[in-house]
Symmetry: C2
Subunit: 334 residues, 2 copies
Amino acid sequence: VSELALIDAIERRLRARGAGMVQGPGDDAAVVRSRALAVTSIDTVAEGVHFERSTHGPRDIGWKALAQALSDLAAMGADGGEAYVSLALPADLDDEAALELVDGMEELAALAEVAIAGGDVVRSPALVVSVAVTGWADDEAELVTRAGASPGELVGVTGELGGSAAGLLVLRARAARGAVPDARPAGCDPAVAAALVRRHLRPEPRLAAGRSLAAAGATAMIDLSDGLATDARHLARRSGVRLELSLSALPLAAGVEAVARAGGRDPAELAVTGGDDYELLFTAPARGRPALEGAAAAAGVPVTWLGHVAAGDGVVLAGEGGRPLEGLAGYEHQ
Amino acid sequence: VSELALIDAIERRLRARGAGMVQGPGDDAAVVRSRALAVTSIDTVAEGVHFERSTHGPRDIGWKALAQALSDLAAMGADGGEAYVSLALPADLDDEAALELVDGMEELAALAEVAIAGGDVVRSPALVVSVAVTGWADDEAELVTRAGASPGELVGVTGELGGSAAGLLVLRARAARGAVPDARPAGCDPAVAAALVRRHLRPEPRLAAGRSLAAAGATAMIDLSDGLATDARHLARRSGVRLELSLSALPLAAGVEAVARAGGRDPAELAVTGGDDYELLFTAPARGRPALEGAAAAAGVPVTWLGHVAAGDGVVLAGEGGRPLEGLAGYEHQ
């Protein structure tokens, strides 16, 4: 199948979505009716770095690439809009797999009410998927950056942590044991393990929660893509503050403790360095606490308060008994 | 140097540009004040497919990646706006080279008055650069798609063709002969060869010409990235028409004939299949001819009329004496 035939097949799998689309895929560029502020991010996943084909099927890769990009819009408090997808495809990935990848992406696009409005398909030595997403807002006051935290504020996080990293450990253990898909992971109930795996393979960007938290008065926000240890540092640095967080407060997903211990890892360390949870870390004045909890609950996610903002810089992650945990390298895709 | 330090160094090399930027690089997403219509495209170049590091330095790669994306905005008649850049960097490309790549891209961004407003840097098995660009328009009537051509109209092209493909032949011949940078290519004056090489390495997207041609009444337009033979077919297909073009009318760049013949290639075949010229192919009613020529001239480029639009489908490229040239496979990055 030629590149053009593949592009045709891809375009047939995409559904128009949203009221603003003037020109979708198939021309030199897409044309979209805008709102006042365009909020745009680009994110890339590469084989061998962000996923392995031994643990991630094509649909998982497509889903993940879009989820990661949309999570940045969630962290701004923007409404999702359109996605533009670049597929750099190696010769050993057949067209059927490329179409499955698009199906996985389109499945999340439908869930997130985002349109895949354009793209590019090229041959490449390695599988690399880039997704640019544009979201929209009507006013700057609707949006939240990483830079607005002030000393004295609280630090909260949505949902549960560590589930994605634990899910990846389960996937890797399965791959090492010979790809028995329902093999029971050590120390963990099979249903719980399946939930962890799903958490890793199908993360749901917190678009609704991001909008709600922004509207309810969050002062700074970031999504947890690289792990709490690293992403909290980004927020602290951009806000010019210090974050003092309690590891004993971490909302660990069910099964994280069992999977971590079975793999010889500390559960809290796994949860703060593991990455790919795509929850939202945010700051807010203490008086805003009920409003923020209510806003997140309305979007279907719980909030956990992890600590507070102080003057200074950096992040302190205090373990049991208040001792700071040293040497958390954070999680960087290298 | 860590990934974060590299990202910091990259951000220091980018200059804000344009009145609409609310939030540039460094947060979860960029925020830009919009105009009525957002025009967006994403394009990718991959090592070994779109460039080789033996013929393309890092600056050339950065320039080319942005040029290719901006050329799509030119073909819509949109104003340039912002670029979002993903760099997937292999371990054998050092940080200095990555920064040079950004410098090459920023150099073109300055020339095109476009801001690099965001990006992503990841490790990857291969060098892959994706660029999403957003341009702007105030009204749908300002924009031109591939779909508006009607039988009876003329087909024109801006600038000169074949220069990029001939420049690549010169570069490859030099690389094969051992990288003597000023080695005289067979059959071609050194100054002419240098111009061809520059044409390949530093293509200038026709943003001003695209806007002018759109305003002057072009009915359909496409940029020549894959070569006239392929791109004319795209336009014909989207418009539901047949393009009848004369190869004897082709505006070959100086030196294309000599370089093609020295390499055993037919000059016209090289020019229509070679790709990467980033000129604009467009259609317009015959009565619009003076206006379109004037519009292009005002943007600093000549127009050559290649033929006309007929009922039917496909593209006929008629050679000397009107015989159609058969078997032009077109140029696809496979």
